[in-house]
Every structure is written in C-alpha cells, then in structure tokens.
C-alpha cells in the first residue's frame, strides 16, 4: 500500500496481544474495544484479552443482527456492530456549561471537559474514514468543538483490517475500505498465530518499540493479504455513487420519497448508529428554584419532528421530508459542506433500521427512474 506512511511490518504472536493492552493501560490509556454484551458486539472498556469477543461473530441483514459462535477462536472475526467510536469522541450527553445565580448576578462556568485518554482497539477501515469525516465537522471548520477536540487529540488508534464482511457492508463502493490505509497509530491483521502489525504514526512507532514484536515472515504477509482479500470478496452490497450529489438534488420530488415515507418510522435509529451523523440539540435545564441551571448537549436527529421546529412550527412536517433530508444530506449536501461524502458504507443504518430500510436500495430506485419526475421546462420560461 503506497499510501501507508511507514512501511515496516511486524508480527505480534497471538499470546502477546495482552501485552499491547497492558502497555496502553500502564501508559494511562483507557482501552476501549469490542466486547460481547446484550446479544451483540459492542464497544466498551477492555481490561484484558478476556473482554474481547474471542470466538464470536455475527450475521447481519436489513433489520437483523445475530451473534454467532465461530469455529475458531479469532479475537476480531466479526464486523461493525451497533456502537461506533463516536460515542467516545462525541458523547451522547455532555454538560457544556453551568450557571448559578449569585447576589451579583449569574455565575457561568464551562462544563467539565477532562475526558480519559482513550485507546481505541479494533477500529475498522470504514470507521477510520468516519472519524476523518467527523474531524472535518468538529475540528476543521470555522468552529472547533472543545468536547470533541479534547477526546480526539489524545486518542490512540489501533486499527484492525477486516478479514470478512457482513452482507450490509459496502465500503468498497464508498472507497473507504476494507483495507486500513491511514488514520491509525497501529494497524493489525489477525492470523491464527498472531497479528501482522503496521505502524502508522510516530506514536505508533514508539509503542511498537515496547512490544515483543518480531519481523513478519513472508508467509505471514502473504496469509494476511489473502485474509484481507477474503473481506473484499465477501462484499456483496454496492452503491453506484456516480454523480450521486446531482442525482439526489435533481430528484427532490421523486415519488420514491413518498414510497420510503410509507415504510420509515422516523425512529432515528439510522442516524444514531451512523458513525458520521453529528446532529445534536442543546437545552437548558434548571432546578425548581431557578437558581441552578446547566446547558446540556444531547444527540438528536433530523428524523425528530421538533428538530426543525422554528417560528411556531416544524419545517419538515412529514416523514417524507425528513427521510429526504437525511439521505440528501448524507450523500449530497455533505459534499458542499465538508467536501466529502457523509456516508462511509459501514451498513449500520441498514442493519439497525427496525424495518430494514436500505439506503443503497433507495438510491438505486431513484437512479433507475432518474429524471422522470423533473418538472418539464416550460417553453414560456424564456
């Protein structure tokens, strides 16, 4: 991979994975990564390799996820689940400021912003891309979000290359995976005997120097390549992104929006599980006396009726306009705003939609009858 910043490839014997976790913990990191909980592989604190989903995998489809046993005891033999790293970088609820009434007026302070130093273990290629998308939103625009920045600046990222794919994955269509090429400190590829380790940053290099690594043998490299290819080969889902921005923006009155509105519950699940969705709302909460108040920021969603409430009414007053807002933002106006697609092809919104709505199908339906419903150009309009 030519765009890997550093080329050296190492091998970490399987029994030494615990050393990686121990070293990070000793350095003061809170290691977070995949673990089995509530019938799924979620992200949570990892204290030792015992917390990892060893021997577990899953099957996914529209509106369906099932945890399953593997026939081997791979640690990372699964794909992305219901959680994403955004829950650490962009937490669901934060207090951004507090206010107290004093005899001299209001005394206002910033909310507490001293998050732990996170080490993310097991970040997939689509998730690296999603973090890069959120970096643009929270760090690279005119306003830098201090909550995101405090977490992001300290984060140590250990990526894992996928060696299998779920039926909902379409990173190949979005150009985001399955190979991890940038945005990590270390990247692993799991083999039965251990992990191929690639270094992606000076911090990764420094950590690697303290691990019991050996130089990767040629058959390790070859086997890793074959396993990564397996993930590519398993990807079935496609989204044709040719001219996708214009396609959607020129079809704002397409009948498909009404069709999907019949099915969509406007329940917000797709936006909540999406690793790039960043919508939130800010509210002030006071106690009964009105002497203490705090300003809270919470995850919110364009699927909520009240999200577009202004001047006495909601702007997007039906499901059709809310679904259209979501999809056209993700796949079209995101380019105008952030110069990148808002979708990285992780497939979460397909799996975690309670009625299995699949954005790749919605886009395909619009593409197949593109232009049919554009208003005819009136001859009198000149």
């Amino acid at each position: 991979m030519t765009n890997l910043p550093l080329q050296t490839t190492w091998f970490l014997p399987r029994g030494e994975l615990s050393r990686l976790i121990e070293t990070l913990r000793a350095d003061g990191y809170e290691v977070v990564g995949p673990t089995v909980d509530q019938g799924a592989i979620v992200y949570s604190e990892i204290r030792s390799t015992d917390d990892l989903p060893k021997g577990w995998t899953e099957t996914q489809g529209p509106g369906q996820y099932r945890l399953e046993r593997r026939t081997d005891d791979a640690y990372f033999g699964f794909t992305v689940g219901p959680h994403s790293w955004k829950k650490y970088l962009f937490p669901p609820l934060v207090t951004v400021s507090t206010a107290e009434r004093t005899p001299d007026g209001w005394s206002i302070s910033d909310g507490k912003n001293d998050p732990p130093k996170y080490a993310f273990l097991g970040v997939r290629a689509c998730e690296l891309a999603a973090i890069a998308v959120q970096d643009r939103t929270f760090l690279h625009g005119p306003y830098v979000d201090p909550v995101y920045k405090a977490r992001r600046d300290q984060a140590f990222i250990i990526a894992v290359n996928c060696t299998q794919a779920a039926s909902t994955c379409f990173c190949t269509s979005m150009g985001t995976g399955p190979r991890c090429t940038r945005g990590f400190d270390l990247a692993l590829t799991e083999l039965p005997a251990g992990f191929l380790v690639e270094v992606g940053s000076p911090a990764g290099e420094a950590l690697a120097a303290r691990l019991p690594l050996v130089e990767a043998a040629e058959d390790h490299t070859r086997e890793a390549e074959a396993r990564r290819q397996n993930a590519v080969d398993q990807i079935q889902r496609r989204m044709d992104t040719t001219g996708i921005r214009d396609l959607l923006l020129q079809n704002l009155e397409h009948p498909r929006w009404s069709d999907v509105a019949q099915r969509c519950l406007s329940c917000t699940n797709c936006t909540m599980v999406c690793p790039t969705c960043f919508c939130h709302s800010v509210r002030d909460v006071s106690d009964l006396t009105g002497d203490q108040a705090r300003r809270e920021r919470q995850w919110d969603s364009c699927f909520n009726l009240d999200f577009s409430y202004m001047n006495g009414g909601p702007v997007r007053n039906d499901v059709r306009s809310r679904y259209r807002q979501w999809l056209t933002h993700k796949l079209a106006s995101w380019f105008d705003q952030f110069d990148v697609s808002g979708c990285v092809g992780c497939g979460r919104c397909i799996t975690w939609c309670p009625v299995g709505i699949d954005l790749t199908e919605e886009v395909a339906a619009i593409r197949s009858s593109d232009g049919l419903q554009r208003p005819p150009v009136s001859p009198a309009a000149t």
Partner: protein, 273 residues
C-alpha cells in the same frame, strides 16, 4: 392569600399511580410545596380549598356519567389544566372496554349490577374539555412532572420530547432488542419519556407513553407480519395502556380486520386440502 400559584390535583378513573409519582419526587417535593399553594390534593392532604386554581393536574379517564359532569366543573375552576398519565390522556388500560360490552362485564363482576351507573366507554379528558398540556406515561415520569411544574412556575414552555423511545435506547447504548434478538418492540412508534427502560432490561417496549409524534405503526406491524407474526398476535401490542390513542387504535383495528380476513382465507385454504 399568598402570591404563589394554586395547585390542584383531581382524580378520575385511574390507579393513583401518577399522583404517587408526584409524591415520589422526594428530592423536589419540598421545593414544589414551597413554590406553590397546594389547594386541592386529596392523595397528599385532607385540606380542601375551593377554586379557582392556577394549575390543575388531572389523573384518570372518564368512565361514569357523574365524572363526565365533574370534569366540566374542574375545567371551569382551572386556569391551566394538564392531564397526567395514560388514563387521562388516552383513556388508559380501562379503554379496552371500548371494544367490549360493558353490560356483560357488569353482569359478570357485580352481584347487583343495577346499582352501577357507568358509561360504555373510557375516554380521554380531552374528549370532554379543553386540555392545555398532556403529560404522557403509565405512570408519568416524575422528573418530567417536575420539569413541567418548574417551567410553569418560571413562566417558560415545558419541554417533554415527543420523539421515539429508540433515540433514548441509542443515547444510553442499549442494543436494539428487535434487531439483535427478534423481540417485537413498539419503541419505534412510542413517545419517549421513560428513558428506554424496558429495552434496557431486555424487554420490548409496552408503549406506556403512547404514540410518538407522527407515528407509523402500520409499517412496523407490516414488517413483523412479513417476519412470521400473525396480525392477531400483534393486536395486544397496540392495545395496551394507550390502546385508545388514535394512532394505536386505528392500527389495532386494522390488524383485527386483517386477522379476520386471513382467518377466513385460512379456512378456505383448509377446505381446499
């Protein structure tokens, strides 16, 4: 008379659980009692003061001719009338009678049914008088009640989000029980308020807070029917504490019609074999 707002709490057909939620708000109760004058609240105090009242909380549904008259008087005495809970807001679990014969129930339950004067329906307060604010839940969430009362005292608009339960599942990191375990859950069409309690304990949502804003229960039920659930099994999910709320009501009636049709076509199929 003090300048504090006068609070009254009236009960109609209900279990008292919502009023108890107010008494349950132990941390805030003293502050509430200090901020308002409690003029009428039999569950809390035998002191009864006449109206008018600035803020009236109404618990329970209308199930008797007497209550149908009493609510008119309560309304006349109240500046701001707020319903609390599923009974007052949509008729409650007792609205199941609306699909049954109350005559038959009376005969089955009471030794002397002729002494009972009841209506054949259980209906929401808003079906009888103008309601200024509805606080959902079976029972209501006391944090929301405190939020609404503090807003009214402070003169700001109360905030009780009308989004789905799913949003709260996701905020708290609960894995969807429908997607990961196949448990039918009506959270996607249910109004928030509980903080996604049941899914957190591996149960599907019971719909205690009634339909979410612009809920689409037909799509959810269609999905389950495509995945092996019979319409008749889905009716009880819609007919719970808020079964008579318009969106749940029309959906359970749709499911019943489908069950009737599929039943008769089953019989046809059976005859063919």
């Amino acid at each position: 008379m003090s300048g504090k707002p006068r609070l009254a709490v009236f009960k109609f057909a209900s279990c008292d659980g919502c009023q108890l939620s107010l008494l349950d708000a132990e941390d805030e109760l003293l502050a509430i009692a200090g901020a308002v004058e409690i003029a009428y609240f039999l569950e809390a105090s035998s002191r009864v003061l006449p109206g008018p009242y600035d803020v009236t909380l109404v618990e329970g549904s209308i199930t008797t001719p007497h209550d149908a008259e009493r609510i008119q008087e309560v309304r006349r005495q109240s500046k701001f009338l707020m319903t609390i809970g599923a009974c007052a807001t949509s008729g409650g679990i007792q609205a199941l009678r609306n699909w049954a014969s109350s005559e038959e129930y009376l005969r089955a339950v009471y030794a002397r049914p002729e002494y009972i004067r009841t209506l054949s329906t259980s209906t929401a307060i808003a079906d009888h008088v103008k309601v200024d604010f509805e606080l959902r839940g079976c029972p209501i969430n006391h944090h929301q009640l405190v939020e609404v009362l503090s807003s009214l005292i402070a003169g700001r608009t109360p905030r009780t989000p009308n989004h789905s339960v799913c949003l709260d599942c996701k905020r708290r990191g609960t894995v969807c029980v429908t997607v990961a375990q196949g448990i039918p859950c009506i959270g996607p069409v249910t109004h928030a308020g509980c903080g996604a309690l049941c899914p957190h304990f591996d149960r599907g949502c019971y719909g205690c807070y009634g339909p979410a804003a612009q809920a689409n229960p037909s799509s959810l039920n269609d999905w389950w029917m495509q995945h092996g659930h019979a319409p008749q099994q889905l009716v009880p999910l819609m007919r719970n504490f808020n079964g008579y709320a318009p969106s749940f009501r029309s959906e359970s009636e749709r499911l019943e019609r489908m069950a009737a049709t599929s039943h008769s076509s089953d019989q046809v199929g059976g005859n063919d074999k």
